[in-house]
């Protein structure tokens, strides 16, 4: 369990984190979303014990991160932003150092090392110095160091940044596999990542929590949630069709994309307009070329919640 109570961090007069409170329970994969400068990294640094809060309290598995820092840090695996490491070391010597510094008993080190090396496919680069590795490999070395001691809590600051699509997929699978027994907090810019791995998302901006919900719950806040879009084969019918659809009781409003002739019908509150629109189209024998049920759009929700600040 991570408990964050009224966390505040000030840099001089700038308040980076403003009275933040939340709890994360085992089994939760919490995605931290927010525009650049929202306070994501600062919050994670405080929870991981790198920074001291100006006010407020953080406990990790019952240990206060300030007064019982060492016990709390034993339970945390942390991937800092940019996955820093020691460039002159090889992945093997680096992981051996982390194992020793984290107090993994010598008898278990070999086994743990082999496990994370296999898990993150590091075997090909083990004896190469880290500064000669690609960005993707460096990130994976950073991940390996974070999970080496099989921590109860994982804090990953942008874990898939710089990875190619295959590697992203692998890392997300890995997070998904570890998710059942652990508490995982990740920060990301990528909304698709939230959908792929998180079962909870917190959107923060200017140091405050603006939304705390499941990814599906966030999608449901989108005006596109349950909206229906369609395209017609002949352009003369568009205006008439739009009027007909707009007069359905399940439809609150319609929009027409002038460029490609796509009509989008937004649902009236609590209604599902897909079936009535489909029935209408059949009755009128419209030459439909496309008919879609829209799901919510996270990016749109994100923009509307954070007030259009650049993501």
């Amino acid at each position: 369990m991570i408990e964050v109570q009224s966390l505040t961090k000030e840099y001089g007069r700038f308040r980076a984190v403003d009275d933040l409170s939340f709890k994360v329970a085992p089994g939760e994969v919490l995605g931290f979303l927010g525009p650049n400068g929202a306070g994501k990294t600062t919050t994670m640094r405080i929870v991981a014990g790198f920074l001291q809060a100006t006010a407020g309290r953080v406990t990790v598995c019952g240990h206060d991160i300030e007064t019982a820092a060492v016990q709390a840090k034993h339970r945390i695996g942390y991937l800092p932003e940019g996955a820093p490491s020691y460039p002159e070391m090889t992945p093997r010597s680096f992981l051996e150092f982390i194992a020793e510094a984290r107090g993994i008993p010598p008898g278990q080190r070999r086994k743990r090392l082999d496990e994370v090396i296999a898990l993150l496919h590091l075997d090909r680069v083990l004896e190469q110095s880290i500064d000669t590795l690609s960005k993707g490999y460096r990130r994976r070395v950073g991940l390996a160091q974070a999970i080496l001691h099989d921590p109860e809590v994982l804090i990953l600051d942008e874990p898939t940044d710089g990875l190619d699509p295959n590697q992203k997929h692998e890392v997300r699978e890995l997070i998904g596999r570890m998710a059942k027994s652990k508490i995982i907090v990740i920060s990301t810019h990528l909304l698709e990542e939230v959908e792929a791995v998180c079962n909870r998302a917190i959107i923060i901006a200017r140091g405050k929590i603006l939304a705390d919900d499941t990814p599906r719950g966030l999608e449901a806040r989108s005006r596109f949630y349950n909206a229906v879009s369609l395209k017609l084969g002949s352009s003369e019918l568009i205006a008439a069709a739009r009027n007909a659809i707009g007069s359905l009781p399940e439809v609150a409003s319609t929009e027409l994309d002038e460029k490609n002739g796509r009509i989008t019908a937004f649902p009236a509150p609590g209604k599902l307009p897909l079936a009535p629109i489909n029935a209408l189209a059949e009755r009128q024998r419209w030459p439909l070329t496309e008919l879609h049920l829209e799901s919510g759009r996270l990016d749109e929700v994100f923009r509307s919640i954070t007030g259009g600040a650049a993501a």
Partner: protein, 247 residues
């Protein structure tokens, strides 16, 4: 203690994984030898003695003044610059463990460089009949003094991300701590300040305490001086690190 050992081992191996170790050792050995033979007039003096004015140990404070800050400047500044400090400080270690581990590694490395001057010791034994006990004491004192220079440099390195600044500040601070104990400076100071002040400053100087040990006299006061100096600097290092680590 395991944490200190882990950091110590990582740091010491990393010196030898980069050219730092080899460049440092070669330059140190070349300078230590050439100062003694060229400036010190070792052969002309005709004495199998390493502690006389101008001889081998006489030059050590001057060598350390520039070489030790070159070693200590990267200790923390580099970690802060590269961000690896975030990794280090989120390991389940106390700050003092990281500070001590890093310092001891740098000190051990310096000791290796100093002990690699052993051919000079062999040379004087071949040429004459020196007081080997005094030489051992002088080696011990020299390494102890290097620890003092290093602890100051480590503390200054923790205060900045910029290695050049760390280097220059360390040289200046070490220089200030060195000169009040030198005979020439003392006679100048005596014209400007009362005796007690000059003596007081001298007793705070590296030079005064090293001079005693390098003559082969190991006095408890000199050991306490270097011990306290190192301890205080490392304590300050921990505090500076806590304050500045995230800047």
């Amino acid at each position: 203690m395991n944490g200190v050992v882990a950091i110590f081992k990582r740091e010491l191996t990393s010196y030898f994984a980069t050219p730092i170790a080899y460049v440092f050792i070669v330059i140190f050995l070349v300078l230590a030898g050439s100062f003694m033979f060229f400036f010190g007039g070792f052969y002309e003096a005709g004495q199998a003695d390493l502690s006389a004015d101008g001889s081998f140990f006489y030059w050590h404070p001057w060598l350390y003044l520039f070489l030790v800050p070159a070693l200590s400047m990267r200790l923390w500044a580099e970690e802060r610059k590269s961000g690896s400090i975030e990794l280090l400080m989120t390991l389940p270690l106390e700050t003092w463990q990281a500070v001590t581990g890093k310092f001891l590694a740098a000190w051990a490395f310096t000791a290796i460089a100093v002990l690699l001057t052993f051919p000079i010791w062999i040379t004087v034994n071949y040429l004459g009949d020196p007081d080997n006990g005094a030489i051992v004491a002088a080696y011990f004192g020299s390494i102890l003094m290097a620890g003092g220079f290093l602890a100051i440099g480590a503390c200054i390195s923790a205060a900045t991300k910029n290695q050049v600044i760390a280097f220059i500040l360390s040289v200046v601070v070490c220089f200030i701590l060195m000169v009040p104990g030198m005979g020439l400076v003392q006679s100048v100071l005596l014209g400007l300040a009362p005796q007690w002040l000059v003596d007081g400053l001298a007793s705070l100087s590296f030079q005064t305490h090293f001079d005693a040990i390098s003559k082969g006299v190991i006095d408890l006061r000199d050991l306490v001086y270097f011990g306290l100096l190192i301890g205080m600097c490392l304590y300050a290092n921990s505090i500076v690190l806590e304050l500045k680590k995230a800047d």
